[in-house]
Symmetry: C2
Subunit: 133 residues, 2 copies
DNA sequence: CGGGATCCGCCCCGATACTG
DNA sequence: CAGTATCGGGGCGGATCCCG
């Protein structure tokens, strides 16, 4: 099967499942969201993305951009100038998605502390048994 | 460092980054969302989850539930009856998250066709070069 | 400048078997 | 019924080098 790999396992299998997975398969990659954020305010060049994201490798930047382009979330425009100039821009579809992600951001910030506490409590409850005795 | 693995790489590194990643790290797992969906309407037993999700292994069901529990998204209640009876239930925090996921669902369904077309176009444009010559 | 190609480690997840 | 333990594959992502 000549199906390309987009980032998270199995497109085919989960197709029938809830559509949320479709979104997640597209956005759950380690860098996808940060790229969308960085490109949210207008066209941006490859190197600008590379510097603004911090920690990303050229490889992953390229791969993630390709996947986003493939899914119609970003457009890639090549300006055939002497030093090559490539600009990436969000599609309207991607800008809608970006807006939607904001409600997730909200949720995360509202419950960030609670989650941290829940983790600490869980770890305190389950880890010591290994060291204690 | 005794930090547990929750599903998607690096908690520490991305802590400073956008909080969306925090949510995704928690939900991007292959089964997390389906479990949240299955448990959305009320307490549900382990085996009920296992049967209602279809395709999930006992192992992954357990692991994903543990992570959700650790993050405070589900509660685990053990009834010490003769055949053991364990019920999982969403916390209010998780129900809020579930509601938020609905806007993602919407987005996915609105653009599902467009995305599929974008993919087909991209693949048609980039794949043939390998076979053609 | 904007990539592509390759090698490799790590973690996610599946399959199977065993337990209280 | 509700898990745990172990083995193993696959793919995501990092590092490095090379190209037009």
């Amino acid at each position: 099967m000549s199906q390309r790999n987009t980032g998270v396992t199995s497109q085919v299998v989960n197709a029938h499942a809830c559509p949320v997975r479709e979104v997640l398969d597209r956005v759950a990659g380690k860098w996808s969201v940060q790229i969308l954020v960085a490109a949210a305010h207008g066209p941006i060049r490859f190197t600008e993305l590379e510097r603004s994201i911090d920690g990303i490798s050229r490889r992953m930047l390229t791969l993630t951009l390709r996947n986003l382009e493939r899914d119609g979330l970003v457009t890639r425009t090549v300006h055939p100038t002497v030093p090559p100039r490539v600009e990436y821009e969000l599609t309207s579809m991607a800008r809608e998605l970006y807006a939607t992600l904001l409600s997730l951001t909200e949720w995360a910030e509202r419950h960030r502390v609670t989650i941290a506490e829940a983790r600490a409590a869980y770890d305190a409850e389950h880890a010591p048994e290994l060291l204690d005795v």
